[in-house]
Symmetry: C2
Subunit: 211 residues, 2 copies
Amino acid sequence: MLHDEVVNALRTALIDGRIKPGERVPEKAFCVALGISRTPLREALKVLAAEGHVVLLPNRGARAARLTRRDLDELFEVNGALEALAGELAGRRITEAGIAAIEVLHRDMAAAFERRDLEGYYRGNRAIHEAILAAAGNQTLEALYESVGARIRRARFVAPMPPGHWEIAMLEHDAMLNALRRRDGVVLSSILKTHLKHKRDEIERAGFAEE
Amino acid sequence: MLHDEVVNALRTALIDGRIKPGERVPEKAFCVALGISRTPLREALKVLAAEGHVVLLPNRGARAARLTRRDLDELFEVNGALEALAGELAGRRITEAGIAAIEVLHRDMAAAFERRDLEGYYRGNRAIHEAILAAAGNQTLEALYESVGARIRRARFVAPMPPGHWEIAMLEHDAMLNALRRRDGVVLSSILKTHLKHKRDEIERAGFAEE
DNA sequence: CCCGTAAGGTTTGCATGCAAAATGCCGCAA
DNA sequence: TTGCGGCATTTTGCATGCAAACCTTACGGG
């Protein structure tokens, strides 16, 4: 399946910044880079445009989408609503096995926290959030969350976490796990909202790479 | 802009049921029907696949996506979360002009209700919901809502509204308008949730065209 | 010197062509 | 009659070709 691979390759390149916001995506150059012809590349660009990762200017090709502060605000608002819904649903639907799996992820993340491994912490953090989304038992929601998350991840942040915030985030995660154990979707939902709000404040303080 | 028009033409055909769920979408036939070549059609199909309106089977072409009851449940859950967020945001952000505009739509819809014009009522209903979404001042949210709504609209329902339900829906709309006037996003949000839940129950009772 | 403009090259948008995969059809045998 | 295998046709996936739109650059007029 050549076509899917092209979409994934480009999307990954866009998300982790190998193609920078605002940068042009000339067809020919990427064709030779990927060793394909223009047809599948163009199809991939159309899909990525529908996903919001690139913008297509008629007769002027594709550019990696610029992420304004406003876009980021909007994405965080939507992300919050999706995560809140996921929390609520997960509270109702998560299985014992699901809770156990998240407990494992939680311990891994806590271990990363203990050894001040920020990279590992972020990975674990994301894994837990995705596990909660999966536990919500709604694939449409999961796909949308993934899509919104991917757009957010395109924003690169410049400042490190201020002291104390990491600890707070960990405490919030402890609270999440407790709520999950009690299957309390309402509380889980509100913790997730708070958690995201803090992340949002973080970015507000840090400023992000664009602008 | 040929490409966009093809996407829109196909999407419309899918949403209002001219292309039925599960039906194949052979490239050649649609090329001659639309008077274009296969390239732009294929690009359009990829986009529609990304939007969830068609599914692409490798080497076996495109089919109009089937909407299972489960898909519908999932879409309603997501729709509810998006609408609830919109209600909350609209309460904070709507302008006087925005409220006035919705009051006009509301009166139109009420008039359709009075003359038992179900078609007109549905149109007005949808216009109000979209106006609330617009008033939320979040274009990302608006686009997602539109996308989810489009997928829901592909489900065709078979039974008419039971007596009394229409009246209840109207009362809920009155309550929405009141909440908006008071800029009470929390209440608006919860009314929207209830309203959608009733719509959902409706469909549960009616059964939908698939299956 | 600066601005407008026109020619050249480049890039995009769509059409077409070709090979591989899939579908359907027919005959054959159990 | 029913099930199976092989061939022809259709359909899909990608590459390529061609015309139109765009960008660059260089030239001439003001």
